[in-house]
Symmetry: D2
Subunit: 151 residues, 4 copies
C-alpha cells in the first residue's frame, strides 16, 4: 500500500540513524526497518532515568521521535531528508522495564507532509507494557541541512 521511492531505503535509513550521535549517547539501536515502519530499542541504564528511577519521558520522546521520523524517511527518495514538524505524546504509564521500544508507523504518506503514529512500550521478562502513544507530522525536504528550515 505504501509506495517505496528507493529500493535501498533500509540501508539508507540505517546509515542516517548511525549519524544521530545522541542515539549512541543514549544507547539506542535501530532494530527493524520496513517500508513505513521503524522499531528502535533502548536498553535500560541508570543514566536514562528520571527522579523515580524509570526511563525519563525525554528518553521516551527521543526514540519515539526518531522511530517516526525514520518510518517516514523509508518512503523518501535518495537526496531527500526528513524534518519533524511537530509531535504529541501521551505518556500513559511509567516507562519501567529492562528495555524500551519505540515504533513509528506511517499513517498517511504525502508529497510534502507525512503523518506517523507512535507507540512506545517497556518490556520486562518478556512482558510488554504500553507506555506512550503519539502522533507526529514530518516534512520532506531536499537534503541540504545547512538551509533546511521547518517551514
Amino acid at each position: 500500500m505504501l509506495k517505496v521511492a528507493d529500493p535501498d531505503f533500509a540501508e539508507r535509513t540505517r546509515a542516517s540513524f548511525a549519524r544521530q550521535a545522541i542515539m549512541q549517547l543514549l544507547g539506542a539501536e535501530m532494530r527493524e526497518v520496513e517500508a513505513g515502519r521503524v522499531l528502535i530499542a533502548l536498553p535500560f541504564k541508570p543514566e536514562l532515568t528520571q527522579q523515580h528511577g524509570f526511563f525519563h519521558g525525554g528518553a521516551t520522546a527521543t526514540i519515539a521521535d526518531s522511530a517516526g521520523g525514520y518510518a517516514g524517511f523509508t518512503l523518501f527518495g535518495p537526496g531527500e531528508s526528513v524534518l519533524t514538524v511537530e509531535f504529541k505524546l501521551n505518556l500513559i504509564a511509567p516507562a519501567d522495564g529492562d528495555c524500551l521500544y519505540a515504533e513509528g508507523r506511517v499513517k498517511k504518506p504525502g508529497r510534502t507532509l507525512t503523518v506517523c503514529e507512535l507507540e512506545v512500550w517497556a518490556e520486562r521478562n518478556g512482558q510488554r507494557k504500553s507506555c506512550a502513544v503519539g502522533l507526529q507530522t514530518l516534512m520532506r525536504v531536499n537534503d541540504r541541512p545547512d538551509i533546511a528550515e521547518a517551514g
Copy 2:
C-alpha cells in the same frame, strides 16, 4: 497570581532535578526556578546531535518536558510529585546554537491537572532563535513513585 504551597519550592525543585540522571548524561542544568516557571540550559556537545549536526529533537523535547514538569512542580506541596500526562511540541526551526534553553511556564494550575506552555530557543553569540513551542499537561500525584500511574 500563582499560589505557592511550599515556601521552599525552589530548593525542593532543584533537588528533584538533581535526581534526574538523564540530565547529567545530556549535560543539562537548571538555571532559573520561580513559582510557576523554570529555565533549563543545555550547552552544545556533539553527542547531542542528529544527522545534520544540530541538537536532536529529542534533546529539545527532553529539556522542554523537564522545564514544564518542574514549572508545575514549583506549585506543589511537600510529598507531592509530578507526572507528565502528555505534551505536544512544534519544532519551528533547527536547534542550531551554542546552547539550548527550555522554559516551562504554568498557564493554568489546578488541583489535579496543570497546563504549561513550553518554549525552546537556541543561542549563538548572544543571538536568540526560537526553536520550539509546546503545550503540556501535568498531573499532581502523591509521591509514591512505586505506585504512581499516569491515570
Copy 3:
C-alpha cells in the same frame, strides 16, 4: 479487556449525547455504542462547510471530540461525568463526502484520566477515506456540572 462499571452504559451514553444540543444543530447521530468505543455520523449538509465546500475542520473536531469523550464515558459509573482535558487532531485529507464518521476508542482507561484514539473518515458511494486521526485525554469527574472544572 476494558472493564465496564455500569451495565446500562449504552443507554446512559445515548441519553447524555441526546442532551448535547450542538449535535442536533449539526445533525450528528450516535450510531454505535460499545464498551470503550463510540461511532458518530454526520450527514453532509451545506451549512457544515468551509470555504471550499468540504466539511469544516470544526465539524470534524466536534464529532471526534464527542466520539472520544463518550467512548471514555461508556466505562464510567452512574453519577460520573467526563471532561475533555485536551485533544490533538491531524487533518490528513479534505473531509469530502456524503457522510462524515468519527470513531473514538479508549486506548488506556484510568481511574482519573482516560486516553482515546480518534479517527474520522468520509464516505461517498460506500468508499471510505480517512480524514483525520487524533489523540484525546479525558478526565472522570463527579457529575456536578455546576462545579466541574478541568483540573
Copy 4:
C-alpha cells in the same frame, strides 16, 4: 515583524470567512483582522451547548481552528489558500459565558508551514475567563480547492 504579501489581506480574509457556511450556522463573527492575528466571537445560544449547558468543546475548537487558520491566511498572497495540518487544544476551564472569543496568532510564519498559537476565552458581564489554549500547524497551498490535499 510579520511580512504581509497582500495589502488587501483584511478584505480577502473577511471574504473567505464569509464563505464558511458553518460559521453562520453557529453564529460566529470575525471581529478583528490584523496581519498575523484574527479574533472570532461566538455569542451564546442554547443550540451550541454540551450536556451541561456550556459551550460544547467542538464549538470552542471550531472557532479556534478558524481564528488560527485565518491568522495565517492574512500573511498569504492572492491565489493562495490555507489548510489546517493539525491542531491541539487544552480545554482548561468550562466555556461558560455570554460570548466565546477565539484568537489566533501567528507564532512562526513560513513559506510552506505556519505555526499559530490559539487562545479561547469566555466573557460574562465583562469578565474574561480563559477556556482553552492551543497550537496549530497550517499549510499554504495554491487556491485549487478541488485538488487541495493536506500533504
